[in-house]
Subunit: 143 residues, 6 copies
């Protein structure tokens, strides 16, 4: 999986469009960026790793609570992209997009997603789903 | 001003460290990224531009309210960096850092900052201050 | 469109089905109910009506701000249903469901939806979309 | 106790009164509905049941945290009814109303209410108190 | 009305009672203080004064939005005192307490209270009601 | 350390300075008061004490979660003072002020502060830092 890290690999960046990313509030201002969801998901993954390495009960209780919030933020950032950024022509061109977003937000939820799971693997699956969204997002920005 | 755009220029990226960005929740998880403040500030700037171009009173009332929230998010993301990411050795190495953060958060506030001003220039000043913070941030990540 | 007002007469209540409604928090607790989205959308509609009838500038500024929040709540309640309640078999049985939710949440948003529009008609379109979702929801509960 | 489930059968809907429910935001928009408090309280009850049936420590930690939030939402929805919907003439006609609301909100709190108790019985007492409020509410709507 | 400004001179502090103030979160931690409601209400009053003195439309739109939030905080702080601090024996001893709280929270609301009114006098009435609550609160703490 | 409890006796009130406290929202309204941070920090301290005295696992899980929120509120109230109340001339006159705020907000955080520590001593250190800020704050108000 190749990420767009707020940095990314050199190769990918050389090919990237230079246009400024845009729209995420619902004015809409036109500034959207999947990096917002990705940063929260990286936090979720880091929390799972730290949880596994630390058996202190206070630390673990805090980790569970904070991971809940960060997973929620992932869901919210993804929902905004799905509803506010993507338009009917995008869904026509990428027929898998609805399911991809539905799967990704479920992966950040309580029914087996990163809210309920302490498994680093679940967080990685979430990051992979966000990466797929990110790839499509940037393709549509180029179009 | 050269930005780290979630993309950045090619030249800068070639020189960038490959380490993954890290810590922003207060577990702490170790994932921090000034991109969070920058994205909100870009939104603030876009709102000012759209406000200037649209005299509809409902649009303008919404723009003022949303810009207030986005400016607040800028402040919160910056405060987290200042308190949670930066440590005493950083403040020693970068003696201007306290003032820089104080100025940047004031630039997102109500006393002449982007909360009270509709001026695109104020949003650009805020973006420039965040860019300075961003530069120092990535230097400390390399160290 | 006949709404399910959350209220019947005593007589009607005696005839009511006893099945418990189910899951909306992300434990998940299993209590979901489209009434949550509908109540907020009714509030949005009432705000549009009151706005049209009152030219006081303070009242109007407040109405615009409050309608923004209530529209946001509609979006959040709908997103929770889409991601957390509905499962792959539902989407198979109701292939229009993704688009219906995407359209409904856009109708509560800023790009022509109830956040940006003061038009009672827009709020009615939103209520109609929620009613469609409500119908499918209760069909799946009975299944 | 007969609840008003926010859902009847098609047949029942045909017989439903057409009066619009009314006011819950503080414009005020005039849309209030005790169903909002009830749905959250049903979630609280379901969480207590699931907690009793599942000894996994991560699940239990999450349940405690989420029940705290849902109980808080019950309190907020009830406070809004007490302050914003009910007027002096209502308090005259129903002299028990102040105590009823005070008791109901305490039942959703931390001093023996559903925030601190994992007991299903406490959640049921809360639901019963909300049902009493609901009954009075709809009487005042008919008047 | 003499307020309890949260501030005395050094000399006065030496004479201050040492009793610890007490409970406001819903653990409950036992720290309550009507100063929280009062500070927000003072902010509301100051906003009304500044609004009257400044006709800039952006300033006025911001003032209306911020006053809405501060009034909401007043309501929340008062509701917490009413539900969480005050117990049945207090309500017996101060039979006016329910009405006093109901009136005070209405004074911070949208139906003629400080949310809808830009009138400094309304904010002063709110402050007077909080002062009455404050007086009773401290009597009960001494008992 | 003598605290400024937000409460004196009637006699003391007669002697109280009449100056109005000032600005904490970002209009700015001009009402600031370090009492807001102090009250939350006192809550944090009380939670640590109650935690130590109660081994019930549900109580302890709730205490950890609530202390997290109250510590966050301390940070937010302090950040507002640092960014919005204090101006360049204050930082010139009190050159230790930046570090004092940075230390105080770290003391309410997750890296050894009151978010991560259950130790009453940490909460006392936080209260002492707020007391230092409070002292400087009131000196600047008198100037």
């Amino acid at each position: 999986m190749i990420w767009n890290k707020g940095r990314g690999t050199q190769v990918l960046n050389l090919l990237r469009p230079k246009t400024t990313v845009s729209a995420h509030c619902d004015l809409p201002c036109g500034v959207y960026d999947p990096a917002q969801a990705r940063i929260e998901a990286e936090s979720v993954k880091a929390i799972c790793e730290k949880y596994a390495a630390n058996e202190d009960p206070v630390f673990r209780a805090r980790a569970i609570g904070i991971k809940e919030q960060r997973s929620q933020l992932v869901k919210e950032h993804l929902w905004v992209l799905w509803t506010d950024y993507f338009k009917p022509p995008h869904f026509e061109k990428y027929p898998q997009l609805h399911e991809l977003f539905n799967k990704a937000t479920k992966l950040a939820g309580g029914g087996g997603g990163t809210k309920s799971s302490m498994d680093v693997k679940t967080a990685e699956d979430l990051l992979a789903a966000i990466a797929e969204i990110d790839k499509i997002f940037w393709e549509t920005k180029q179009a």
